[in-house]
Amino acid sequence: MRITIIFFIIALLSTISADAQKFITKTGYIKFYSDAPLEKIEAHNRQVNSALDFTTGGFVFKVLMKSFEFEKALMQEHFNENYVDSDKFPSATFVGTVTNIKDVNLSQDGIYDINVDGKLTMHGVTREIHEKGTFEVKQEKLLGKAKFNLVVADYKITIPGNVGNNISNTVEVTVEITLEKANL
């Protein structure tokens, strides 16, 4: 965990350079969606930290697991206590790069396809992910959107057999962030 935090801080610090164009938000949005035979479950988090170095494409996320909100209190308890163990692993982190950031034209409003490569750390497990998304340039802001699937077993999250029909082994993750130019 300590290594992850240090890596996260180094990644953030590396986004700061004299000529860096840095975009940030502290109110990004992430949704988990599980579609199992007996139940559909959603969780929402609107307190996502994210930073983008537009010069290099460096891109980081950090999200507190206890900030995910579920419709049912029991689901939220099980999520924190039984599945992601949020006392032991309080956050999830993504550190990566928008590999085609050069294709995004900040002076031209529009929607641009992006490719994101990096490492997602959750529940103490770090895995490479490669996903696609979009950046919409709008009035000097970057509206980022992505939707992808995660296999919970990849992050050593175990779904007990007795709730196997209530929780899917694959969850859909939706990311929506509005990045604003940082005045640092």
Partner: protein
């Protein structure tokens, strides 16, 4: 009516009641009433922020998941979509202002939106943790202003 039929009917009725109670009070139980729940810890914003800055692991074990009452000088109010956030700034960092961010319960959005910076406020909320830039409190209410 025969005795065994009465017993079976009794078991069925008790079973139905048990299922209803489990559904209502376990499976479908309400989220905590964060406005009216009593804070388990009271401290100043400075004390909370410094606790996380000086020893994140220790502070996380002590405060994460707790309902905390905080007193401090408000720096600003942020409004983002449906969120109203009371912000207590302590320093500048890689994400700009760093400190404590208290997301208000929707019921308190209007009153929080009218708070003036630099005034002392007392808020209560659920501590979600420290994300290396800010301590995050959720479901906050204003105790006084």
């Amino acid at each position: 009516m025969k005795t065994w039929i009465k017993i079976v009917l009794g078991i069925v009725v008790i079973g139905i009641i048990a299922i209803f109670l489990i559904y209502k009070f376990v499976y479908n139980k309400e989220h905590p009433d964060y406005e009216n729940i009593e804070a388990s810890i009271s401290l100043t914003t400075t004390e909370l922020y410094q606790a996380f800055k000086s020893n994140k692991d220790d502070a996380s074990a002590r405060y994460n998941g707790q309902v905390i009452a905080l007193t401090g000088n408000l720096s600003k109010i942020e409004a983002v979509d449906s969120l109203v956030i009371a912000v207590f700034v302590f320093e500048q960092g890689i994400f700009g202002d760093e400190g404590i961010r208290c997301t208000m319960l929707q019921k308190f959005n209007d009153v929080a939106g009218k708070l003036q910076p630099d005034g002392e406020v007392k808020v209560k909320g659920y501590c979600a943790g420290y994300n290396d830039t800010d301590v995050i409190l959720e479901k906050c209410s204003i105790i006084n202003q």
